[in-house]
């Protein structure tokens, strides 16, 4: 999570991006700074590397096109995560429509993708956890991932998802219970 130093650094990135001569260099620096965090945030949603790469590229292209208009009313980090989350959720919606599946069938599709991953082992806790997370509804999945893996404060998460802090806390609480129930085989 960005601390004060990080925020200054983000501000410098945004300011230098607006300078034509420094644009490419500042953008490269921005990509290097946030690529892994955004990558894993998206991959936890869509599972496969190729799809993650496509979505991530789209995210950074949007950043390139819109960073000039970014007014820094929120953290750069929050803004980037918001774009990443929306792109991933949009991709999942399109995927569902293309395959014409119901919500319950959706769990099976992503379960299949999970099973197809390299080194997949349902006996290992990290794979089991991923299976458990895939049973969550999409938005709840995002809440769980942002809190559990990215350790995002609820206030920041509220900026990313446009949901109140109280609702996010409740959602995370329910997500934890479901994941736990899945892992313990209840």
């Amino acid at each position: 999570m960005p601390d004060t130093t990080d925020q200054v650094s983000d501000h410098m990135l945004v300011a230098s991006f607006k300078d034509e001569k420094l644009r490419e260099a500042s953008f490269t620096q921005l990509v290097r700074k946030y690529q892994e965090r955004l990558y894993w945030h998206i991959r936890r949603m869509v599972i496969e590397h190729e799809d993650t790469n496509d979505i991530l590229q789209n995210v950074f292209i949007k950043v390139w096109k819109n960073l000039d208009d970014f007014r820094e009313e929120s953290n750069l980090y929050t803004w980037l995560y918001r774009i990443g989350t929306n792109e991933a959720l949009t991709w999942i919606d399109q995927k569902k429509r293309r395959t014409s599946v119901s919500l319950s069938d959706n769990e099976d599709i992503f379960s299949e993708r999970l099973h197809a991953q390299k080194d997949f082992d349902p006996n290992k806790i990290e794979w089991k956890l991923q299976q458990a997370i895939q049973t969550l509804p999409e938005k709840q999945r995002v809440v769980f991932n942002l809190r559990y893996y990215d350790e995002m404060p609820y206030e920041e998460m509220s900026g990313v998802l446009g949901t109140s802090v109280g609702a996010l806390k409740a959602s995370y609480h329910h997500a934890v219970k479901k994941v736990q129930s899945f892992i313990s085989g209840d």
């Binding site: 894993w40 590397h49 991530l56 292209i61 390139w64 991953q117 350790e151």
Partner: protein, 215 residues
Amino acid sequence: MNKRNDISIELRDMNSVLADMPRTMPYHVPAGYFDQLPDNVHATIKNINEAENVPAWSKKMPYSVPVNYFNELTGNIIAGAFTENADLPEQLPYTVPAGYFENLPAQILAAAKAESPAKKETKVIPLQKRHIFRQMRWLAAAVLILGIGIGSYSIINRGQSSTENMLASVPANDIQDYLQHTDRIDVDRVLSTDINNLQLDNKDIIQYLNETGWD
């Protein structure tokens, strides 16, 4: 990290086993992926910019169109549609049940009666009687016209003959006396008089003309 501890504490507060689980991602990432990602993103952006910056090629079509083509197009299409239909058979392909038209009037009448049974029956005048009635009407009209004609003629003739009858009734001697005592017109005097010096009123002229029958 404080945040990690916060998350762990939160999970412990929920009595969740997740508090002690390793938070590692089991997914595989291709080697060198993150090292190459910034350059790949730049290349993608460059391709997009090139695609958006299409050269300002001329949008003018090099093909020629016959003169008045578009003006006549609508008419040609419509004419073509009629021409296409010219070979179509005039007869409809539908079949009609046998005896349909013969029975139709009776059916319609029956249906009409069934719908309004309380209606009075329309008076049906036999064709022959209708014919005589029509003849009598024409006769009455002829008599009327004749009567008007004869009456008008007699009124006109009465007016005309009365004047002649009146003249005929005047004795010849009276007519002769009248002519003798009337001042003779001095023709020479009339001819020598300059018409322009005559002080005549228009009314007098008009009256004279009316009396002598000039229009």
